[in-house]
């Protein structure tokens, strides 16, 4: 048997239906190019997101000023980019701080928190989904009831209640985001495990003497990577929205640290005389969320159109 990619599950998967979407990134690289040509939005979204990530990563090099430096004489200057006579490209805020610099540094915090939250949610959710689906029985019952309970609370209400008790800190913020995020993975992975665990190749592995852990990690997990990837991408958008929403309410990143949500909240009090304070960070949030959504949608259509409901 010669398998070009050398990836076992993908090779055995070419025959069965649910496994046909296994390891699609390897098996269908040429069709990915074709898909991108027909569906350029994924590239648009990817470019926007990548640009924002790069801007955040290189914030210290790109920022024209110290994001925390205030100045009385430089308060609420309009954005020079719109032709105003001003020393600030995107204007300055009520404390005379450079908005562009705050935006770049705020992006670091917002995007890093979102990324961390997505990774942690995926780890937790996928693990619970695998265990729940594979073990079945009372373990499955318990995990699924916990999922039901979690889904009964509006995410933001649960988040603010928890933060109110434990206080605001980056750890609490990520914890709350993970609390909100793991459920989708757990549900989806569990469903695919249920359909996978009676597949012939899993039984074959068991017949060959593979242990449960080995079966789950080597044979089941690789075949759930498509939905996990799609959920994770879409969730980048959800996490950015949730984090900036909490920061907007004053429960997320604390001043004077800039974050997109808290910048927006500060700008709200100056709507009548300095509209750019609230407008600029909102554009940044919208672009990041739109970028992540476009990539997620494109990936979903490519990897598995059946996942549309997610």
């Amino acid at each position: 048997m010669t398998v070009a990619s050398g990836e076992k599950p993908a090779a055995s998967g070419e025959r069965g239906i649910p496994i046909a979407r296994a390891s699609p990134l390897v098996a269908r690289r040429s069709s990915l190019v074709r898909h991108l040509r027909r569906n350029p939005l994924i590239l648009v979204g990817g470019t926007v997101l990548l640009a924002l990530v790069l801007a955040a990563v290189f914030a210290p090099l790109l920022a024209p000023a110290d994001p925390l430096k205030t100045g009385f004489s430089t308060r609420v200057k309009p954005p020079a980019i719109l032709g105003y006579d001003s020393a600030f490209l995107l204007g300055s805020d009520n404390l005379g701080r450079d908005i562009l610099s705050r935006l770049l540094y705020g992006g670091r915090i917002s995007l890093a928190l979102a990324a961390l939250a997505v990774v942690c949610s995926a780890l937790l959710g996928v693990t619970l989904g695998l265990v729940s689906g594979y073990a079945g029985g009372w373990v499955d019952d318990v995990v699924m009831r916990v999922v039901d309970v979690q889904l009964s609370f509006p995410v933001i209400m649960l988040a603010i209640a928890v933060i109110a008790v434990v206080g605001t800190s980056p750890t609490a913020l990520v914890g709350v985001l993970v609390l909100a995020g793991w459920v989708v993975y757990a549900r989806t992975v569990r469903a695919s495990v249920l359909s996978l665990k009676h597949q012939e190749y899993v039984q074959a592995a068991r017949a060959l003497g593979a242990g449960d852990l080995r079966i789950v990690v080597r044979h089941v997990l690789p075949n759930t990577q498509a939905p996990i990837l799609v959920i994770a991408t879409v969730q980048v958008a959800t996490m950015i929205l949730l984090e900036s929403g909490l920061s907007f309410l004053g429960l997320g990143v604390q001043p004077p640290q800039p974050s997109w949500g808290s910048m927006l909240a500060e700008g709200r009090d100056y709507l009548s005389n300095a509209w750019w304070l609230a407008t600029v960070p909102g554009i940044a949030i919208s672009l990041a969320v739109l970028g992540a959504n476009l990539v997620g949608d494109g990936l979903r259509d490519f990897l598995d159109p059946n996942l549309r409901g997610l």
Partner: protein
């Protein structure tokens, strides 16, 4: 059928039980003295001691849970020290404003989301489709607090057409309900579209077309009915989305509902009110989900056997 209903009822009861454990746990398991959290800051030690005894904080956890559950079932949610009134009454007073806002937003969601989705699917890969889906992508990406602020900026500050805070009449509903409806409308439009596309590719639709039925009859008569089930589910789930969205929307528009109340209460550390709102919103969500699931069995009798 009866078995299915019973099973669903049991699940809902179990979920409610879980919800009560979570709400109980947030105050008891997380660090901090619950009695101190349930009292205003700077309350005298004697009051803390008194409440501790009342809540049974010196008893084992399961006894405390029993006391908590008994008072909740009785409708006693403790005293709001922010308003010096029973927390239940404080929350109840704010419910109508949130219900009005959510109902209008829900109506907007159905009135725009469903037709846009149907149109986009019926005119697949045309300008209608692309325009509808572009708007939907936008609706899902604009954070509602920003959308709200931009609407305030445009219609309140710049044009001065509409009121932007408080709730004193129907015109006050316009901006908040648009803000609240944007996200769910986009979601519903996209889901309606994909559900319709799925149905429109089925054989019975081809049969209907080949019988010579007009396209309008095929789409509205045959396809819509069959595409309705996932849409109804997602519409049911939007109640939760609306309740969550109300937290932020109400804060933006100073809307006197439970969303703003919960945020204010957290800054006042008014935990009895927070607890009440958590229990209330989760219960509403569970009941609505139950109703949606039961509605399924009416829409699609096949589900009974699932």
């Amino acid at each position: 059928m009866r078995q299915y209903v019973l099973k669903r009822l049991l699940h809902s009861a179990l979920t409610l039980f879980g919800v009560s454990l979570v709400v109980f746990g947030i105050l008891r398991v997380l660090p901090g003295d619950p009695a101190r959290m349930l009292l205003p800051e700077g309350a005298p030690n004697s009051a803390v001691e008194e409440l501790s005894r009342q809540l049974g904080l010196r008893e084992p956890l399961w006894v405390q849970y029993g006391i908590f559950l008994r008072s909740v079932v009785r409708g006693d949610f403790g005293q709001s020290f922010q308003f010096r009134a029973p927390a239940g009454a404080v929350v109840a007073e704010r419910i109508p404003a949130t219900v009005h806002l959510s109902l209008v937003a829900f109506a907007l969601t159905v009135a725009f989301g469903v037709p846009v989705g149907i149109l986009a699917a019926a005119r697949h890969r045309t300008g209608y489709d692309y325009a509808g889906m572009f708007l939907a992508a936008l609706g899902q990406s604009l954070p509602n607090f920003w959308l709200g602020i931009m609407l305030v900026l445009l219609f309140g500050v710049a044009l001065g057409w509409l009121p932007t805070s408080d709730y004193k009449g129907p015109s006050y509903l316009v901006l908040p309900s648009i803000t609240l409806a944007a996200f769910p409308t986009a979601l519903v439009a996209r889901l309606t579209r994909s559900s319709m596309l799925d149905v429109l590719g089925r054989e019975y639709v081809r049969t209907a077309r080949s019988k010579g039925l007009r396209e309008g009859t095929v789409v509205l008569g045959h396809a819509v009915k069959n595409a309705a089930i996932p849409v109804v589910t997602i519409l049911g789930l939007q109640i939760g989305v609306l309740l969550g969205g109300a937290v932020i929307t109400e804060s933006v528009f100073a809307w006197p509902g439970i969303g703003k109340l919960v945020v204010d209460s957290i800054f006042q550390r008014d935990f009895p009110v927070v607890q009440t709102i958590l229990i209330l919103s989760a219960t509403v969500f569970i009941v609505i989900n139950l109703l949606v699931d039961l509605l399924y069995t009416v829409l699609d009798p096949r589900i009974r056997y699932a």
